[in-house]
């Protein structure tokens, strides 16, 4: 289950970009975003 805060952030950012969130697998995007952020955080630790 994706983090609801991240899910909401993804939806909001897509809407800001003009993309219809209903065309996107929001859970997939949210999960990958969390992974990338964790990886970026580890790089700069």
């Amino acid at each position: 289950m994706s983090d609801p805060d991240i899910t909401a952030e993804v939806v909001a950012r897509l809407q800001l970009s003009g993309v219809d969130p209903s065309n996107v697998d929001i859970g997939f995007v949210a999960d990958r975003l969390v992974e990338l952020r964790a990886g970026l955080a580890a790089v700069h630790e």
Binding site: E9, V10, R13, L14, S17, G18, V19, D20, N23, V24, D25, F28, V29, R32, L33, E35, L36, R37, A38, G39, L40, A42, V43, H44
Partner: protein
């Protein structure tokens, strides 16, 4: 099928005609059982063979071209239904270069949609199969080009490489593929994916044929480097290259290093701690750039983009500027540390892919008892050169226990293609493992 160089020499000597080579190629393609091509250009290739071809080093030789490169005489789909009827008015610069050298474009090869992927499993144009085992994937995104060479349809092909799209299918199909230094070869007329990593290069069944095709593509006519004694060649390895490998790949990699050591190459351990951390920042850049490139398509034609590509483009759009900046800061440091390491060695040597070709449709791969998403495991080693803009080449080094090819990747110095090809030729001679032409 004989080599690219021998085909060109045979035409020059008059022992074979361009029309003979085109007919041989079309006969080999037949009904294209591996789905290597989106468009077979039979009519235009036959017409070209009978025309007054330029007197160049590739005169009369059929070559396949990835379908993200503009051709004035054939549709250029970029693997997308959105461009299924796109007829460019001019050739991509690289297509023009091979035609100026006398080559004949035999067809446009299959690829991942918008080149965003590594499987050549295209929802619109079908999946390309691996000629070594048609139940296995060809890798991608230049899978059609790799299979065209491996299956003996033509002696060489053009591919493009952003995160490994030349080297991955080269390794999986037992051929040689060169990703040149970023910026070395023109990408004009090639549909972009990620502007700071896109590179166009040759794919062929030997290092020598890759070198010949590369010499035609490059603007500055760099002199080939003469082969040096093996004892004067330093090969760099590091612990990261031995981690998370399939057992067969680990065995081929270790055996290759042993054979090279026995042949008096110098194996050097290099310290590259950043390798263990590079993948997330690399993926950040690799997500953002395609999203910016194809944002208009995502806004105006979302349902004409395959769902998995749409999701990846969406991911690129939600990454923030601060996150991209963080990734780029790491990239600068990463590139500097690799370049510094390459001042001590001639090339870095690692497996091209951590595993042999997987069954079609695989989403994960098991490496040392860990199940890893395919899209993460596949570019583990190819992303290194992509992120740092370095030249890199994959050549066949052996096969798995079930007879699938395994590739070895050599990463060279920036702008050092001549050296890289020279070292690769020496390594190829020593490993002495070459794909039989037309593995079918």
């Amino acid at each position: 099928m004989i080599s690219l160089r021998d085909q060109a020499a045979a035409v020059a000597a008059g022992s074979v005609t361009p029309a003979d080579l085109v007919e041989q190629s079309l006969s080999a393609i037949g009904d294209d059982p591996f789905n290597a091509f989106i468009t077979v250009m039979a009519d235009s290739a036959r017409a070209a063979a009978l025309s007054d071809l330029p007197e160049g080093p590739l005169r009369g030789v059929p070559i396949a071209v990835k379908d993200n490169m503009a051709t004035r005489d054939a549709v250029t789909t970029s693997g997308s239904p959105i461009f299924a009827e796109h007829h460019p008015s001019v050739d991509a610069r690289v297509v023009q270069r091979i035609r100026d050298a006398g080559a004949i474009v035999i067809g446009k090869t299959n690829l991942d949609e918008l080149t965003w992927g590594g499987t050549t499993d295209n929802p619109t144009f079908g999946r390309t199969s691996n000629p070594w085992n048609p139940d296995r994937f060809a890798a991608g995104s230049s899978g059609g080009s790799a299979v065209a060479v491996a299956a003996g349809y033509c002696a060489a092909a053009l591919g493009s490489d952003t995160g490994g799209s030349i080297r991955l299918p080269a390794a999986m199909n037992g051929i040689v593929g060169l990703r040149p230094t970023w910026g070395r070869i023109s990408v004009e007329g090639v549909t972009p994916l990620a502007w700071s990593m896109d590179s166009v290069g040759p794919m062929a069944s030997s290092v020598d044929d890759c070198a010949l095709l590369y010499s035609v593509l490059v603007d500055d006519h760099e002199q080939p480097t003469r082969q040096r004694p093996n004892r004067n060649i330093r090969l760099g390895v590091t612990s990261f290259f031995f981690e998370s490998l399939d057992a067969d790949v680990a065995q081929v990699y270790r055996r290759s290093l042993d054979v090279l050591d026995d042949a008096e190459f110098q194996l050097w351990n290099v310290d590259l701690p950043d390798l263990a951390r590079y993948i997330p920042p690399w993926l950040v850049a690799h997500m953002v750039e395609p999203a910016v490139q194809h944002r208009d398509l995502l806004l105006t034609r979302p349902l004409d983009i395959a769902p998995h590509v749409r999701d990846l483009l969406a991911l690129g759009l939600v990454i923030s500027g601060a996150e991209l900046d963080s990734a780029q800061r790491f990239r600068a440091q990463f590139t500097a540390s690799l370049t510094c390491a390459l001042s001590d060695v001639d090339v870095l040597v690692c497996p091209t892919v951590p595993f042999p070709a997987v069954p079609h449709g695989s989403m994960t791969v098991t490496l040392q008892d860990h199940e890893v998403p395919l899209f993460e495991a596949l570019p583990r080693f190819t992303g290194i050169a992509s992120f740092a803009g370095l030249p890199a080449l994959s050549l066949p080094a052996g096969e798995s226990s079930d007879g699938l090819p395994i590739g070895l990747q050599l990463i060279g110095r920036p702008g050092g293609e001549a050296d890289l090809l020279s070292v690769a030729s020496s390594v190829e001679d020593v490993l002495d493992w070459r794909t039989p032409q037309g593995v079918i």
